[in-house]
Symmetry: none
Subunit: 221 residues, 2 copies
DNA sequence: CTTCAACGATCAACATTCGCATAAGATCTA
DNA sequence: TAGATCTTATGCGAATGTTGATCGTTGAAG
């Protein structure tokens, strides 16, 4: 984990970076707003600790600029205890958390842990086979980056196959997972839908294993 | 957005819920730890405000139980100003933020906005899709810079959808987050309001995914 | 190599479910 | 009470899922 500390008080900056380094983070330091903004704009940090009162460019402006430019790394703001209105402004500017000075180092560490932990939980789930990508969180499928429109059953079928790619899936297994309870066992809906999927994604995506079922392959020879 | 307030001080609870309701949230209230825990365990909240000093079961235990049971909704903790050690314990127990009593209502609102925003993976108070921009702080929506007048429910619906843009949202999920407690589940209000929003913003904004729900798209093909 | 039967693919027609528009009724609010 | 807002009811039309008939393919036996 790589952190940035933007704090003009050299003493405080050093204290913070030591504590964070002890906690196992890699730390970059900036001592004014401009330098801080530049670093945050160009380097990929897992979290930033940002003082509000800074020379050159104040912390709030730094934060606003970052957010305007689409940087979404977690930012923990530091400011004087009594300036509560700064909290509101800071939070609305896109800060993720806030600590008042003077603070207990232990509290800062706890909050940084929380920020990093939280940021880790935001990944979207994607399964891909060749140029076909299924985003389970968005419920969306793309081929070569182009969104492909699927009906509900088409999606469920593809999703099940992709979740078990490489394995041969029996038709009965598909029926059991796509339908609730009993469903006419000698029906050819599955075949129909496999056909429709092949029409949308090309015939090479779903391989049929005669007598057994279907399989999705990572690559072909 | 649907919130839960767990606070035994009736006066404070009422103040909080009024402020939140004015801000456009749907609010459920609990006055002791047990009741609060039960609600948080069974209903899907977008954020929770949790007092630490509670009868029946203290706030920290409530929070720990929720987290142990896998509930990950954002939780904002309230406690007395001087008990800073509670902050560390609370944050490590899985709290997302913290406010000391007595507090400014405006600060609580800002923090709640931040929590909801963050849970949606957003860095700013403005969410935009195409030419439609939702300002969660001001509670306003513009299209091409022109302010659009929305009724309360229209706003809540759009807000929830925009906070989860890209994802398919089931109608049941919408009902759970736009209304408190029980609401006739087989009603077509949601459809009616989707229709009204489409009339105001154009039919391309809200995509319907047949059999699953609705989705707001960033870009189209 | 040919033939045949089993299996799978394809297609069009059908039935059904689902979502939408509209408007009228109910409820809230100033 | 009037006006705004929310909810319910209904009928239509289209998207979706299902069916059965027919056609193509495969692989093994003769």
């Amino acid at each position: 984990m790589r952190m940035l500390i933007v704090e003009d008080d050299r003493d405080l900056n050093r204290q913070l970076s030591e504590a964070l380094e002890d906690a196992g983070y890699v730390v970059d330091k900036a001592f004014d707003g401009e330098e801080g903004h530049f670093l945050g704009d160009t380097e990929p940090y897992d979290a930033v600790i940002l003082d509000l009162g800074l020379p050159q460019m104040d912390g709030l402006s730094v934060l606003e600029r970052w957010r305007r430019d689409g940087h979404s790394m977690p930012v923990l703001i530091l400011t004087a205890r009594d300036r509560w209105s700064d909290k509101v402004a800071g939070i609305d500017a896109g800060a993720d958390d806030y600590v008042a000075k003077p603070f207990h180092m232990e509290e800062v560490l706890a909050r940084v842990r929380a920020l990093v932990r939280r940021a880790a939980g935001l990944a979207s789930n994607e399964i891909s086979i060749g140029d076909v990508v299924l985003d389970t969180k968005a419920g969306k499928v793309t081929k070569n980056g182009m969104s492909v429109k699927l009906t509900s059953l088409e999606f469920r079928l593809l999703s099940y196959l992709m979740h078990h790619k490489g394995r041969v899936i029996a038709r009965t297994e598909l029926v059991e997972h796509l339908y609730d309870q009993d469903f006419d066992r000698d029906s050819n809906t599955i075949e129909v839908f496999v056909g429709r999927l092949r029409k949308k994604f090309g015939s090479s995506l779903i391989e049929t294993v005669r007598g057994l079922g279907y399989r999705l392959q990572e690559e072909n020879a």
